[in-house]
Amino acid sequence: MTPGVAVDSGPVRREVAHLMGMPISLALRGRHADTTTGRRAWSAFIARLRRVDQVFSTYREDSVISRLGRGELTQAQCPAEVLEVLDLGRAAEEQSGGAFSVWLPDGRGGTRLEPSGVVKGWAIQRASRHLAALDDTDWCVSAGGDMVCHVADPDRPDWRIGVEHPLDPTRVIAVIPVRTGAVATSGTAHRGQHLIDARTGRPATGVASVTVTGPSLTWADIDATAAYVQGAVAAEWLRTRAGRSALVVWPDATTTIIDGRLPSGW
């Protein structure tokens, strides 16, 4: 075999849409890269995210989540998908020792409902089934830097995911080849200090960024944020997570790689 020889996979077609205040980027190659079926799948993907946004947006006064947060709805009155997200949030809170939570201190002694740390990865992962239905087509879809990828044909190359350098967003600090799986990164390079340690209510420090890969974006995204808000013990905690590989970039730009482990209990 000759290293470096890849089968020509044809051109990559790209789409960008803006939704939930984020750019959503798609790369497609293979059979439906440039067909009506491929474009329909992209439209269906976006339409599903729009519906999720209507239910979960904390920026919309009339969303189910806003009404639940204000106590105008009980959990029993919410759609099943809301309960699913709250369950994920509870599991993440337990597994992170309370550092990650969808209930954050509101600064007045109470808490506010902020499920976006769970919703994003979960929503992208769910919506990606519209892309997964495309036969013989490779796709990689990123929502503001968190992505799900799939390569359908064994002869086509991996998707190569660059990990942004947290101290210099014009550079990449690592590359992750992905065939089928998810990559999520948490950091504050673009939004300022917006990741909160739920135990203290204060912005997390001690880590520049955390990137997690795994089979599902739902948990890759949760784990990236949950590790980030734990600061100095991020890498230690990630080693306890089955089935994920991770990259921690520290504030001095040194890195720690956590090798993926097989799921425990298998």
Partner: protein, 208 residues
Amino acid sequence: MGDLIMKKIVLWFATTVSIVVLLFGYRTSTNATNASAATSAQRPYVGTATAGGTAGSGTAGSSTGKSGTAGSSTGKSGTAGSGTGNAVTAPASPSTSTAANGSTAATSASSPASASTTTTYTGRVASTRWGDVQVAITVTDGKISAVSVPVYPSGNGEDQQINAVALPILVQETVSNQSANIDMVSGATVTSNGYLTSLQSALDQAGL
């Protein structure tokens, strides 16, 4: 029932990868002094693998390694693929292009500027009762830079998940984005306002 089978495959798989990694670590460490001794010393490992129902080791061929560090995993670069069960990706049918890709990636990631030697060793396909399995390792400058499974059992949807469990991460601290050859960018959440100045935006516009 399905879980039990998958459990066996996973355990078996981890064992095989470990064996191949061990085998290779041994191979390179002895190679410097006596190649033929290394070859014969290698046989017991092959035998072990076979006894375990695997036979996943291949003929190592000519070794280009220069040190005995293969198999350990601590550094910042080029460590993908070593360690336990850190499997790379793998298509559902026989293919060699995955391994070829892995070695390319390893070469460019570890030292883009200097010449390095990369060789991929592919074990022969082993039949197990769960299906055919093949393991390949890529060695760059004497270190294992990737472990891949070009052939693995494809019976149900869970295989793909297992396959995606662990991905290699190649840290490149000196690479510029021009030479990174990447498809997408993962980073702290980019907002629509910041998008136009982001790397992802450059990729989207380049249409590569």
